[in-house]
């Protein structure tokens, strides 16, 4: 089971990047000055891309796609790229794209928002706008901030400046297999409940994302036999859930009366998904009455005999 889940998630990982082919993360070798900036050195099938969250809570914020800004400089053209710094070591600045860029010895640092000299040191987690000299491929200026800064040049415009010891090689594990983008899908769950379910009952959904709390998601009754709820889930995510009437003791059972593993839904890449489920029985259903109350002597033989009210039931005399 674990292997299967891992495989599904891996497929999600592999295919997730297809929708955003601009975010190639492999650094191209440095180009001679004056050569055109490549838009992408990889085919879509080879492109390694940001992975959308497999779960809505686990989204890893990806940097926004920047625009391109070029400014004429004495040495060539200045390209500006905004991102977040991973590290600054050995004369390189590393961005969260995974690329290392060589720093110019005459590097200048300013505050991004004021343009004035800044006490912020280029370091891990600091946001920076790097200005590249297209002639030297070096970072000549870093405008720094502790807050996210808006994007400028696209990654494709600067990844050719990244210094890398090895030639990029395609990763066969990143070949896309299906089309999941992580987009939000409206999934409408409609549950057909057992016909013995009381009209007063409320039906809930417990999920792995809410720690299997049996009151996590309340469904709306839409007729005598159906309950419904619409959830917004990212495509490609695996959603585990079970129906319950509000407690761990009233969770749904399989058709054969046995406890069943949670239901699983791999959210498809569609605008709207209708998921129709059938609940065959509840764990606390008393077969003798067909209702959802626990069996016990109080229900036997009948509430009408011998005393329907809270009056004393005849008792045998106890002998001390």
């Amino acid at each position: 089971m674990t292997v299967q889940r891992g495989r599904v998630a891996f497929v999600i990982l592999l295919v997730a990047g297809v929708a955003l082919p601009g975010l190639a993360s492999v650094a191209a070798p440095p180009k001679p000055a004056g050569s055109p900036v490549p838009t992408s050195s990889l085919s879509p099938a080879q492109t390694a891309l940001p992975v959308p969250s497999a779960l809505p809570s686990a989204a890893t914020p990806a940097p926004a796609l920047p625009g391109l800004t070029m400014t004429a400089t004495p040495s060539g053209t200045l390209v500006r790229f905004a991102g977040q710094i991973l590290d600054v070591r050995n004369g390189f600045v590393f961005f969260t794209t995974g690329d290392g860029f060589r720093l110019d010895p005459s590097l200048r640092t300013d505050d991004y928002f004021t343009g004035a000299p800044t006490p912020i040191v280029p370091a891990l987690r600091v946001y920076a706008r790097a200005s590249f000299d297209t002639a030297t491929h070096r970072v000549v200026q870093l405008d720094l901030s502790r807050r996210p800064i808006p994007p400028e040049a696209s990654y494709e415009a600067v990844h050719a400046f990244a210094v890398t010891a090895s030639s990029p090689r395609p990763n066969p594990e990143l070949v896309p297999r299906a089309g999941f983008s992580g987009r939000i899908v409206n999934v409408t769950f409609t549950a057909l409940v057992p016909s013995t379910t009381n009209l007063n009952d409320v039906v809930y959904m417990e999920t792995d994302q809410s720690g299997w709390n049996p009151l996590a998601i309340r469904l709306d009754r839409i007729d005598a036999l159906h309950y419904r709820i619409t959830l917004r889930l990212p495509s490609g995510s695996e959603f585990l859930y079970r129906y319950t009437r509000g407690s761990a003791q009233s969770v749904e059972r399989a058709r054969n009366g046995i406890e069943q593993p949670p239901r699983s839904l791999l959210v498809p890449e569609v605008d709207l998904k209708n998921q129709d489920d059938t609940v065959y029985s509840w764990a606390d259903t008393n077969p003798a009455s067909g209702s959802n109350s626990a069996p016990g002597p109080d229900a036997i033989p009948t509430p009408f005999n011998p005393a329907p009210f809270p009056f004393p039931v005849p008792r045998k005399t106890l002998k001390p």
Partner: protein, 565 residues
């Protein structure tokens, strides 16, 4: 190969509960179980995606080597690690498994491999010094400061279980107004939790609960309250034996005792259920055992009464029990051309109470009753009427025979009409009719004697019932109910529902008053419920009912307000 556990220490670890993220700042040290250590300035672990990153001055030490880099990321689900080495020139390396000596150089990586999560305005659940992660299962934090009521309180440890195993959610505690759990220890298969709770009887108190779980079984035990003399010891357990057999049990001891001294009273309840799947049906064997007193019979005290300590803790030897074997069939369609599904059931059982009468007829105690029954439930699938209306019908009929000479017929029928307004709103109206008849044949008037509208008490005195319907009651009742419901869910953050219930029952219900408790269903009731989702992890559910002209009841005693996930 399953991902291996690992340990992380840092000057400050932070768990953000709303995004399932753990970060570490300064002096980060990650120790893998294969002997590899990764140090750096920053750590982030996404619990749901099952991946972590160490960034900033990264030093990777493994058996047989050492590497320096800018960032290290491990995707545990795929046994891949990604590394940005810092040598004379940067590079991109991919490690397969734990083979750090032979990196795949220059290989493409997923695009967000080294992205750092944004945590501004996220909810800090706790701070800690160290954490032991079992991937896809748990994180055990030590040196913890836990967020509580706007401040952070120091506690030795906190065990966070984020396993996808639903058996961890099994509960053996009774309800409480407020429940604040402190899971302080655990493993992949266990969880130990202290609870701080509040209710209007016990006020503020502590409880303890223990989970032992596997994918196919669980055992959950608790002491509740732990800090009050009147407490319950609960145990619930289940085991799936193969794919077609399940055992389930629940045991409870209610005791009055100071801490763990000899109790002054102790009663017990136990049930067990075994379910066996058959072809197109299943069997279920269920038993209940009640023990009014688990203590030995005391010596007679004042006035010959039997009690422990004082007469407020009487000793009662009663121990009723019951059991039944039931057979339940699957749903079947009556015919290919008729939209009618049906389900059959039958059962055989016994109830026994050596001290209290289960039936009382002709001055005869029946302390053992055997019974058997057959029943059928039939329903129509949703039938469209016109373009907008949907019709459903459900009928249920059961006859139950008892060894005491009578049988009970129960017939219920429900019709409903509903209309759905897009994905956001729905209305329905349902009419329900239930008839229950207790048939004694020639002894009908002995079982339900005319003019007796009551019962004899323990002293042999007849206690009359001042309600005419019950004076005329001869064992046959009719309940009729009309229910109208409306639900509106405009978005995932707001839900509301309104339900009107109108009941016409015979015998008429006894309205609650200072003399009598509620018996029967209120004639007219309006229920409203609103649920607001505050954020991903918190929702507020507010409900209230109004009873029209029903004794002392108008508004239900109070709002029901529930804050949960």
């Amino acid at each position: 190969m399953a991902p291996q556990p690992f340990t992380v220490s840092a000057n400050r670890l932070i768990y953000y509960s709303d995004i399932d993220l753990v970060t570490g700042e300064d002096a980060v040290r990650v120790s893998l179980d294969d002997g590899t250590t990764i140090t750096g300035a920053y750590f982030a672990m996404n619990l749901k995606l099952n991946r972590f990153i160490v960034a900033g001055g990264v030093e990777l030490s493994y058996p047989g080597g050492h590497l320096s880099g800018a960032a290290f990321t491990r995707f545990m689900d795929f046994s891949r690690a990604y590394f940005v080495p810092v040598t004379d020139q940067p590079d991109r390396w991919t490690f397969v498994g734990s083979d750090y000596a032979h990196p795949l150089r220059g290989r493409d990586m997923p695009g967000d491999t080294f992205y750092l999560p944004e945590v501004t305005h996220r909810h800090v659940f706790l701070y800690a010094k160290t954490a032991r992660f079992v991937p896809k299962s748990s994180a055990f934090f030590q040196g913890v400061r836990l967020s509580q009521l706007g401040t952070f309180i120091p506690i030795p440890s906190f065990f966070l279980s984020y396993s996808r195993n639903p058996n961890f959610s099994q509960n053996s505690l009774a309800g409480a107004y407020i429940d604040d759990p402190f899971p302080f220890a655990g493993s992949t298969n266990s969880l130990e939790t202290a609870h701080l709770r509040y209710d209007n009887i016990n006020k503020l108190y502590a409880s303890y609960e223990q989970h032992l779980v596997t994918d196919r079984s669980y055992l959950v035990a608790s002491i509740n309250p732990l800090t009050r003399p009147q407490r319950q010891y609960n145990l619930t357990a289940s085991d799936l034996l193969g794919n077609n057999f399940q055992l389930l049990t629940f045991a409870q001891e209610s005791a009055f005792q100071q801490w763990f001294q000899q109790p002054l009273s102790a009663s017990g309840y136990l049930y067990g259920t075994a379910t066996a799947a058959l072809h197109n049906s299943y069997l279920q064997l269920h038993g209940d055992w009640y023990y009014q007193s688990l203590l030995a019979q005391p010596r007679p005290g004042v006035n010959g009464l039997l009690y422990y300590g004082d007469p407020t803790h009487p000793w009662l030897p009663d121990h009723p029990s019951d059991g039944q074997l039931t057979w339940s069939g699957f749903d079947h369609r009556l015919s290919r051309h008729l939209p009618l599904e049906f389900r059959l059931r039958s059962g055989y059982g016994v109830a026994h109470d050596p001290y209290a009468a289960l039936a009382f007829l002709n001055n005869t105690f029946y302390d053992t009753l055997w019974f058997h029954y057959v029943g059928i439930n039939a329903y129509t699938p949703s039938i469209k009427l016109g373009k907008t209306l949907v019709f459903n019908a459900v009928a249920d009929k059961q006859r139950q025979w008892f060894s005491a000479p009578h049988h009970i017929d129960t017939t219920s029928t429900t019709f409903s009409l509903s209309r759905v307004f897009g994905p956001k709103a729905a209305v329905y109206a349902a009419y329900q009719l239930q008839n229950v008849g207790d048939f004694f044949g020639a002894q009908q008037l002995i079982a339900y004697p005319p003019g007796s509208a009551g019962a004899y008490n323990g002293a042999g005195q007849f206690v009359p019932v001042p309600f005419p319907d019950y004076a005329a009651f001869r064992g046959f009742s009719t309940q009729r109910g009309f229910v109208e419901g409306f639900s509106f869910t405009p978005n995932p953050y707001f839900q509301t529902s309104l339900t009107m219930r109108e009941n016409h029952d015979w015998p008429a219900p006894i309205a609650p008053s200072s003399l009598y408790g509620l018996t029967g269903r209120p004639p007219l009731e309006l229920d409203g419920d609103v649920r607001l989702r505050v954020n991903r992890t918190t929702s507020v559910d507010i409900g209230r009912s109004y009873y029209f002209g029903f004794g002392d009841l108008r508004w239900s005693p109070q709002f029901s307000i529930r804050v949960g996930p």
